[in-house]
Subunit: 369 residues, 4 copies
């Protein structure tokens, strides 16, 4: 930690500040610059709060934390090695991680009835998905919007799981529902609006289930990693980070701004596996395939895609859902990109039709006449 | 609701869309423009989801909701009359509302021990506060930061309440803690990070306690009102909205960007009382008095101020807390502005020293030589 | 400047980096912490580019600038004393500054014809304005929108100046027009969209006219001060900073988010006078009076208000303009707040009707039964 | 255009408003809903200003523009066909467009001296670039930072052009320099900070040179297209849009947030070719290759990459520049992705080493044990 002193501060005051800093069990090392003095703090500064240090003297200009505030989530914690999250599903173990094939998750925003969820599960499985997503409890902006079918929807997810062997990903919104959700879910989802619901983070940290932690609407990457740290610190090492779009000034043509650079940035900061959700990230089905492909190239370890048998009649988020037919086509298309980066499951071989073969490049193409 | 059709769409397709719209129990009224067609929908459109309507045809450019999505929170719901929230405290009833004096709330970020909380309560009461704030459960970015003393801190708040007669404002973060919190609190606070914790909103909506609903870090005014609508729709009419700063691109010199224009904007949209928290809004004690005064002039019905007996040693948020002495001085200063807008409690008469009297205007001042 | 080294870096590499740093004419002072090493740089670091230092070694985690990048704009440059900008107008000298009465500027978005601009000038003068604002060259989002009357509008401003003795504030958008604009303007305005038009900043820095520098739509306070630094460094010391709202995620109910906390923040960083433009800041006439009053309390030295004889028929920005009658009433209202903070010109004595006297506080008001 | 009337407005007032609307040469068509009335306007509404219509009556809730405000930039303007921009360079014609191979542009942030610029040009040409970028006039946040060598740097660009046959892309910041810049440049660049420098847009619209228009730091997609519309409306049809990152709340780990979804969104709105600049978009060389690949997959027609012979010693933007060796390697890597989407120039055949072949997938990989 570094304490920057305002220009023109008297030596006496600097000494007094150093004296006070020593009472916090750190060793102050002043660096006397041409215009300003800064004091390096040596010792266990992780426990110190920069804001409190700031209060020690009105002559402190700012306090800069040098260490990263997250530990267990940091890449250093695993000495630079990526971690993997292994999830047991009826169909076998599925591994999320940088050295594994991309894991596909698909399903509707919310579970509507048995027929739709089982039909969806069967089709997304056939297309290559390893997990079925589906909401039983839905966070909705309006109290008058469909709130999810709750516990009965969990039963329907269990039925779909049994029918297909797919793993289940579903969201928990309330600590009171956690036990019920954990009975059915193979992966528990913490939604964007609950990324800093610290009570919920501690609780999912205390159980033995993998967790997908979605990025909050305006969460910085550091805050997101700190939210993961809550789960890790509570004892649950199986956290997958999911980028799902952030809120920016421009919301006219997309629902959110998908921050794909977050993928390589996270890679340089954390060992945790990374998922991308282009359905929420863009909010419009027409942009989902393109941005899913871009996410693969950016390095995503997993994709979460909203799929609905009849998007027009979906009880929520229809506009960003692919139909089942579109999802089938989508999986064929992204397989080509997945193979180009050597991260596609071997059991889904490359489609014989090359991506973009429908596109006829003008023969007069570019330069060099 | 208005459905805008893409330019160049065939009449047949427009008719088909109108046909389909009728199946949603609304009457479509096409407006045939020079370049484009729009279809007005007449009927009970409040129940319709614009995103789903969008799905009806690929020739729909956009769907525009004309009605506001909130009802009980809207000014129209009370035919333009502001509502007031009356809170019973040991010292008597306190009313929050546009036609009442400004209500002062003050106290530390977190309850640390009995001595500090009782001492703080006594002093802020003497200075004019009607409520003591203090956190038992604290939402902290880091799992390693002080998380609040929890239930024992609630007991200390009860002690301070008994000692001073002040009402208590404290935050609930988890539905599991609500009952305990509601026993002590006269007003329950929903923090910014939980503004869209819909489970929690429904629960506080189901009990009979006034609620302060803080604005989320990146919540639009509409989302904030929809969060209030959750509480109102669940049966609790006593909601106070609290502006506490939003997240923007510039976070170098302040913690958040205090959005004071939200006060008159809310006034034009909702009947609910409005509070401003300049401590979180700016994040730095030195800007709190100035922005508190500006908040009063902007029309705030209540102010929430962080106060700590020893900000340097505060377990959380010390840098934005006023000391007890500073709070005393602060209340004298803002009384002048409160009186200038005729909204200061009569029992706290105007200080005899005019605000700014310490400032000596240059005699050569402005123009007109 | 402080160079933070990644944890686990070998001493040899740190030494190599220090060696290289010496070749940049600075003295490196390593601070060896428990987990990490940081290197303080002593010497003339102002000339160094943190990004370049970062390149010296892949083991550098980050480079932190301790000094502020602006000099002439900083409060330290004047040893903590505020500066004032004195403008000569036909009616006499007008001074902008922290120790002077608030200066009122008013007028239409764009100059439309002689009658409207002269009529406006006469009325705003009568109401207390010292300057007439009016656009000859207008930055408009659409090429099809009215672009201002250009040079002929400058002549009309000269006419209004002669008729009333008011100073003229008008915007320059192009270095090619600067000479013409400077002939008529008493203060040259740089608009928000040109805040980082560095060519233009250098040119207005090279002439001898006061400049109002509006904050860019998404300019940080530091970038804004650096833009002022361009003008100051080019030799023109007469810069007034104008807050006019920033761009945030919520643009539904206001055009911009007025950042009033910028006023006390600037006060702590710079000696330059500060203006607030609540017309652009909110974008809606109905919020202008309230936010103007809040701006005064926040510490603004000057207010710029859009006024139009017939806002309905304004060629631009009608929705945020006050009518002439509204401006008269507005000035009476804000005089009360201006006097409450002892910053209202003596020649405009307090209206006898106290602000808010129309508001009848409920007698049963607050507590203490 | 649709005028939404506030609930509860009297029929008489609605009729009065319709009457007034007729005087604006449009035909009002009221849609009487259950709770509210909306008035559709038929006629030439493109010329109307929604803000002014809003002023017609205090009973107007809002005015919604149905048509897009841009015309020449819209996809409809070319009946859904993409346009292409053909640029003549000494080496021949190069075409930017959706149906053409991806065009690579590379070079240093600023032109430093003849040796560095010619060496860079030769190498980037060998690696596959068709254009050399290099700044003669540099927009810098600080007046004390290197501002570019100006006119002499233009001469050096001419030398590099002659030596290699590459086209030149360089930025103009001031209308006064346009002529000089246009003599050397094959494509003129308008930088992010000048995206709404409307004087400059009009001037480059009036000359006969292709223009790269970078997106402003906080420009919405609509504002960006309107800026392009300025150039198109002034007579220059050769505009290429360049996404270079936007400003968001999180600036800790990247300089900007690269908005790759803008690529497919633009594709659905405009016929203009699209470029991506991942160097500015991320601000850090280590993320450039990954995000360049993602940009290709997102559909970019061109890539602009910062390259410098010695990034450590670059006079500007060193931290986001690739070295010449890194650029060579970069081009080999992105060729694989470019070929996967069938958009790579035929003269640069696929590298024989498949992308990601260095990555060894764990054989125990995913599921199905």
């Amino acid at each position: 930690m570094i304490v920057v002193i305002k220009p023109g501060t008297l030596t006496l005051e600097i000494e007094r500040t150093c004296q006070e800093l020593r009472s916090w069990n750190v060793i102050p090392e002043p660096i006397v610059g041409k215009h300003q003095v800064a004091i390096g703090l040596i010792g266990d500064t992780a426990a110190l709060n920069p804001q409190q240090i700031q209060q020690l003297s009105p002559f402190i200009e700012k306090v800069i934390r040098v260490n990263k505030p997250y530990k267990r989530a940091s890449l250093e914690f695993r000495h630079g090695e990526p971690s993997s999250v292994i999830v047991s599903t009826p169909n076998g173990l599925v591994t999320f991680g940088q050295n594994y094939p991309i894991v596909s998750i698909a399903g509707p925003c919310s579970v509507e009835n048995e027929e739709m969820i089982v039909e969806t599960a069967q089709l997304v499985k056939a297309a290559g998905a390893k997990f079925l997503r589906g909401g039983a409890y839905k966070p909705r902006t309006s109290p008058y919007a469909f709130q999810g079918h709750g516990a009965p929807a969990l039963d329907l997810l269990a039925t779909a799981r049994q029918a297909t062997g797919l793993g289940i990903v579903t969201e928990v919104m309330d600590t009171a529902d956690l036990e019920k959700v954990a009975e059915v879910a193979d992966i528990i989802q913490i939604g964007a609006r609950n990324m800093q619901n610290f009570s919920l983070l501690k609780r999912v940290g205390a159980i033995n289930k993998p967790v997908v932690l979605k990025r909050g609407l305006s969460a910085t990457i550091e805050e997101w990693l700190m939210a993961a740290e809550y789960i890790l610190a509570a004892g649950n090492p199986n956290v997958i980070l999911c980028e799902r779009g952030i809120r920016t000034f421009d919301r006219q043509y997309t629902r959110n701004t998908l921050d794909l650079t977050a993928v390589p940035v996270l890679r340089s900061l954390t060992h945790l596996p990374i998922m991308v959700d282009p359905s929420h990230g863009t909010g419009l089905a027409e942009y989902v395939p393109t941005m899913a492909k871009a996410a693969i190239v950016a390095g995503a370890d997993s994709l979460m895609i909203e799929v609905h048998p009849n998007p027009k009649k979906a009880l929520s988020d229809g506009s960003q859902s692919l139909s089942l037919q579109q999802y089938e086509e989508f999986m064929k298309q992204i397989a080509i990109i997945g193979q180009a980066v050597c991260r596609w499951p071997q059991e889904y071989p490359l489609s014989t039709v090359p991506l973009g073969s429908h596109r006829q490049l003008s023969t007069s193409s570019s330069a060099n006449p």
